[in-house]
Assembly symmetry: C2
Homo-oligomer: 223 residues x 2
């Protein structure tokens, strides 16, 4: 059988914190090894824990005095990237969810979830999942629909519009607002050559000005 899941708790409301600790006692799978009333306290006390009692999962309140849950998550993941963090909150606005994920949270539960669901979430986490309350999961989808993905292009993939590598270099200078002369200087080329390249770029991209080319370059993730 697997070892117990060691849990950390950061939650400023002492009543809730104690209630959680009490309830977790009834579950054999988990073991609360640290519980703090603030993110700062958690960060202070974590280094002192022996490895065997170091939390594998931290239940993190978002709203806390001092360092809030987002900041604390950032710092914890910085020092202990292998520790998973579940945000635990009553709030559910999109920006906060997004920020929590970006900070490194791997799960997001609303505080009204029953304790057995929380324990189940811990197990899911350890099995590679990303437990989320239904409402949060739905909101995440909404966030993703509004998000722009920065798709990275494999090096050998062909560039949009059949642009050559050289032409791409030139575009990158164009979006910086450089003149042909400046680009030539930067690339050790005659400004005439730069101009010829730009002519070809315009033809391939079906545009007719630097602004339009820059715009299209952004839209197509060329820069």
């Amino acid at each position: 059988m697997d070892k117990k899941i060691t849990i950390g708790i950061a939650e400023d409301q002492s009543a809730l914190r104690r209630r959680l600790i009490e309830h977790f006692r009834f579950f054999d799978e988990v073991d609360v090894t640290i519980a703090c009333e603030s993110g700062d306290a958690l960060l202070e006390r974590l280094p002192a824990l022996p490895e065997s009692r170091f939390p594998v999962v931290i239940l993190m309140d978002i709203e806390m005095p001092g360092s809030n849950g987002i900041e604390t998550t950032h710092r914890v993941k910085e020092h202990y990237p292998q520790t998973d963090i579940i945000m635990f909150t009553v709030f559910e606005d999109d920006d906060r969810i997004f920020d929590a994920i970006q900070a490194g949270a791997s799960g997001y539960l609303l505080k009204d979830e029953p304790v057995d669901v929380i324990v189940q979430a811990m197990k899911e986490l350890r099995e590679g999942g990303a437990p989320m309350s239904a409402l949060i999961a739905r909101k995440m989808l909404g966030i993703m629909r509004r998000a722009q993905l920065e798709r990275q292009r494999p090096d050998d993939a062909e560039l949009p519009f059949n642009l050559s590598a050289r032409e791409l270099e030139i575009i990158q200078q164009i979006v910086q607002g450089k003149t042909n002369a400046e680009i030539g200087e930067a690339m050790f080329l005659s400004p005439f050559t730069v101009k010829t390249h730009i002519k070809n770029i315009y033809r391939k991209m079906h545009v007719g000005s630097r602004a339009e080319a820059a715009s299209l370059a952004y839209k197509r993730n060329l820069v």
Copy 2:
């Protein structure tokens, strides 16, 4: 008790399709009302269904001949936005997950999930969740960490660089590659006026050319 969940299936492998239909029979909660071997067939046959047999959830394979699952999802959501779609696939690359979500999918299951998990996912969906296989949920988090969120600006929030509303309008035309004369025509302004606005824009944004302004506009989500 709630009514049965009506299910649609789009899956080109006939063996799997039949297996799913067979297995779903054992679950009282669900009722397969339509099963097709392609996205095109689904789109063709959906309009003919009576409302009572219209699928509330569609299990959608991604890899299909003709319209693939992403395209089909797009079209289904376009015509039947209230129908939920679960992507059902063996593939799990980030771009595909992202595209599926953007197309309007509300869940994402791997084909190796047991049927009872799939049925459970349907129920979760109806309860407002977004069921995902553990692996997919984790990948979604990774995608979100790389994503840029387009945070929408409240109407009364001040624009970056203290640009006026009128100036913003002009920028939008600039990124389209228009000349001052064309902008003037579109906005019923003298080209001289357009020029004056652009001068002010340059001053406020600390740039000196249309390409640079367009570029910065994209970076700051002005367009």
